[in-house]
Symmetry: C2
Subunit: 267 residues, 2 copies
Amino acid sequence: MNLSDYRVSKKFKLSGISTDDTGKLERDRAERETAEIGAKLTELQDRLYAESQQSLLVVLQARDAGGKDGTVKHVFEPVNPQGIIVTNFKVPNEEDLKHDFLWRIHPHTPAAGMIAVFNRSHYEDVLVTRVHNIIDDQEAERRFGYIRNFETLLASRGTRILKLYLHISAEEQRSRLQDRLDNPEKNWKFNPADLKERGKWDEYTRAYEAALSATSTDAAPWYVIPADHKWYRNRVISQLLLDTLSDMNPQFPKPEFDLTNVTVGAI
Amino acid sequence: MNLSDYRVSKKFKLSGISTDDTGKLERDRAERETAEIGAKLTELQDRLYAESQQSLLVVLQARDAGGKDGTVKHVFEPVNPQGIIVTNFKVPNEEDLKHDFLWRIHPHTPAAGMIAVFNRSHYEDVLVTRVHNIIDDQEAERRFGYIRNFETLLASRGTRILKLYLHISAEEQRSRLQDRLDNPEKNWKFNPADLKERGKWDEYTRAYEAALSATSTDAAPWYVIPADHKWYRNRVISQLLLDTLSDMNPQFPKPEFDLTNVTVGAI
C-alpha cells in the first residue's frame, strides 16, 4: 500500500485508480491493522485536543452509496466524540443561496484542537451544480480559485486538510443501491432521485476529475480511495489519518501556571 | 443497582447518596457489562438517527475533576460520531452576557435524530453565579423557572433530557487534582483557580442541592451518579442511556417513496 499512488496530481483520471484495489492485503489482516491504528488515533487525538493549537479537516466526497456514512462510522469511531464534529452538508437552503457558496461552510471549519469531518462539502457546488448546468465552466474555474484560497486561509491558522474521494465502480453502486431496496432496514436510505444522478455517471466522472485536479494542493491534497471493498477503504483512510496526525505531532501543553510546590489539601 | 435510587426528588441531600457506591458490583463484571451495553447503544443510536423524529440531550454537571471528560470519552465512544455533538460550555463571553442566560445554550440543543451532550451547561448559571453571589436567591429561583420552561419546550419537540450530576467526595477530588500535578501529561489540566473553587465545597453542595431539586422534573429528571469509581459511574450512565433510548424506541423509517418494482439497472 503506497499512499502516494492515490494522491491526485494535476493530470489525473479516475480510471487510473482501480476501485477494487486491495493493495495486496487480505481482509482479516487489513481489519486487524485498522483496529490497531484506531488505538493510535485515539491517543493522537487526545494530544491534539489537549494541545489546542492545530486542527484537522477531513472532507469526504463520493457518489451516492459511495460509503461516506460508513467511513464516518467505522474509521472515526475510536475518536473521543468531544474532539470531533461531523457536519452533513445537504442541498443549500434559501438563506444559504443569498450568500456566496462558502458562507455556509466557514462556520463548520474546525477550531484549534478539533477534528472536523465534512460529509459532502463545498465541493458539491462545483459538482452537482456543474453536472446540472447550474454553473458554466468559467464559473467552475472561478470557484476552484475561491476554494484554493479558502483552504489556504484555513491552513494559515493551523488547519491540516485531507480531502478524500471514495472511489466505487458503477457495478458496486448498483449493488449497494439495490441492497437498499432489498433490505427493509435500509429502505429509508433509498431515494429514487439517486437513480437519476446515477444516469449521469460519466458527467460526474468528468466533474470530479476537473474539481479534484484543480484543487489538490500541498496545503489540501485530494486522495482517491479505492472503495469497492469497505475494509480496504477503512484501512487506507486510517493510515492517512495516522500519517497526517503523526506529522502534525501534537504535544500535551506545558501548564500555564507554575505548579512547583502546589499541593491539594484536605477539606 | 436500582437506578431510581439515584433519581433526584424534591427534598434530596447529596449526602444521601454515597459517592463510592458500587451497587454491589465487581469492577470486572461492571466493565464487561458497560461494553455489552455499548454495542446496544450503537444500534439504538443508528435507529434514532435514521428515524430522525426524536432526540436526546444529556447534561453533565460535576465539580472540578468530577469526571465529565472521562464520561464523554468512555461512555459515548460506541456512538457513531455522525449522530452526536458534544458542546463544552465555558465561562460566558462578552457577547453571551448581552443576552439572557439561555441564549448561548439554545443553538446547541439536539436536532431530531441527534444526541447532544452538554459538558457543563445552563446550570452553571445557577451554580457558579450563586456561589460567587453574582445572583441572589430570588434570581436563582426565577432562573429555575426559566430552566423548567425551557426544558419543557425542548421536550415538546421530541427531545428526551437526561441530567447527570457526577458525585465525587472531597477526598476523591483531592486525589484527582493532585494527580494532575504529579502526572506531567495531565499538568495542562490543572488550574490553580480550581483550588479556590474547592475551598467553597459546602457552598457548592448547597447550590447543587437547590438547583437539582428545583429542576428535576418528569420531562427532565436529574440523576446523582456515584462517581468515585469511574467504572461504576460508566456502568450506571450506560444503563441510564440504554433504558432511555430503549424507552424512546426509535424505528427505521418507512421509505418515503413506493419502492415496489424499482430495480437498479447496469450502466
